[in-house]
Subunit: 162 residues, 4 copies
């Protein structure tokens, strides 16, 4: 069951099937907190926004998968942590703008997941990232991602990986 | 004309008329960035959320008012800055929760505006703030808020100020 | 034993006895991350800086007190959380400036502590706060502050409370 | 003339000549604001720390170079902005730890500068980044870095680039 919020249906963004494959989109508004004295968005704000995109992408994969992740499914509590991240900052963005964070599955490994994420303003790509996350138990050791969850990720990335 | 985003209609929240008056509501999701090692939301995150609420409340007051504020209406560019803020942190909140930031006009002065803001989770009040903002020109001097804008604020606070 | 770092002796600031009493001073540099598009420091940055001041003030009270706090002294693990905070934002500050966060004990209660904190640039007060923190166990219940720790706080505030 | 703060001599870190070349070191304390609910440092905090390291590295290059950068030397006001960044997150770090941000010059281009930065805890590398920054005028166009400034950067990286 997908975890939708009744009062605010789009709060976790949407999973869409575009011409270039299935992906998750999360809208982000640029607030004061995201900018710096240069007048533009501070570069670390994109890093926070990419994390929001990944969190909501996982959220929309539905309850069963989150149960696997948070340990409520009977397995050891665990979380995805970022292992590697590379970002190209291509264009500036500014206060009050509405941007969209796109998240796509690139590769599914035994204990890791590689995502391609972009921040766009309409058709303009503002920033682009490749992010590798690994599943780590609360006690700190890497965990194998369950077959069900890997299958769900593969499904997400399906049409994208042509 | 109210400034609505077509693709994401609720992105700036909503102005609602409740039993206790008209106010603005903005939903906020708790992400990793908002929490700290205690497992709870970091207290300064509420300060950022209150600012988002105020920004989107102003946004929904519509284009004419924003033109006054940002100088595009022919007046000197200016912004509301926080002059005083007091916050009560009443209950903890946690990762993944959906909270709502409520913003109400309490008092409209010649150059200042006092707002009452709360963060709620359903019927539970998590944090409560009283915030006074003043209109400051880019060159740093306090500005008189235009009569049109003051009237708009009074209108917002109308049923609330019984 | 006070917890000093050998390589960076001032990293946690200093406890000083001034004409107006004993207090803790922590220097803070204004970086990109602390500013917003207005060109000034973002108001929530002061909230983060006040927290740094309180953390380092506690740090310099010495190891025994921290052991009480973090549970390593055999008591239940606990942390001070902010219960109430009021801030006056008096003057703007800007990128690259060196500011000082002053922290003074105002009142010591059974389970709470009230501090007065200011951010200064030389003799100019930029922001001023009164902050009440309470000791909360990891399981969420308020804890009585140990007599030893209360005595240490009283000692800090001694000359200040004339 | 190097820009030292009299009261807090190490506030901008230090330039040191190590066995593996000259580099800049900035100490960083882990505060509440830097952690998340996993109990560890939030990954975007490293991005902020790397920026602090770069800012203070530039600061210690001395006043003349900063004058070039901020336009007070008679040239167009400009700032270095991040164009590309890749980070490996190798080990976790935790609240209260003292870390060191190391910054080294890797390559000096006509309008860009590539730096290698690490976050260490004693001999342990916590995170490692390669960051390319470009000099951009306030109006948004890339600027040629002055020969004097390029020479200063080359000097910094000298022993490192054997």
């Amino acid at each position: 069951m997908s975890e939708k919020n009744e009062s605010w249906p789009d709060l976790a963004g949407r999973v869409v099937d575009g011409p270039d494959g299935r992906h998750h989109i999360l809208p982000v508004r640029v607030y004061f907190e995201d900018t710096d004295f240069s007048g533009l968005v501070y570069h670390a704000s994109y890093v926070r926004w990419f994390e929001r995109g990944r969190s909501d992408f996982l959220r929309l994969l539905g309850g069963d998968h989150r149960r696997l992740i948070d340990g409520s499914g009977g397995t050891e509590p665990a979380a995805f942590v970022v292992r590697r991240m590379s970002i190209d900052f291509l264009k500036p963005s500014r206060i009050d703008e509405v941007l969209e964070v796109e998240t796509r599955v690139k590769q599914v490994g035994a204990a890791s997941l590689t995502l391609v994420q972009t921040v766009r303003r309409s058709d303009t790509t503002i920033a682009e990232a490749e992010v590798t996350v690994v599943l780590i138990s609360v006690s700190g050791k890497p965990l194998r991602i369950s077959e069900a969850l890997r299958e769900a990720f593969r499904e997400q990335g399906k049409s994208a990986s042509v």
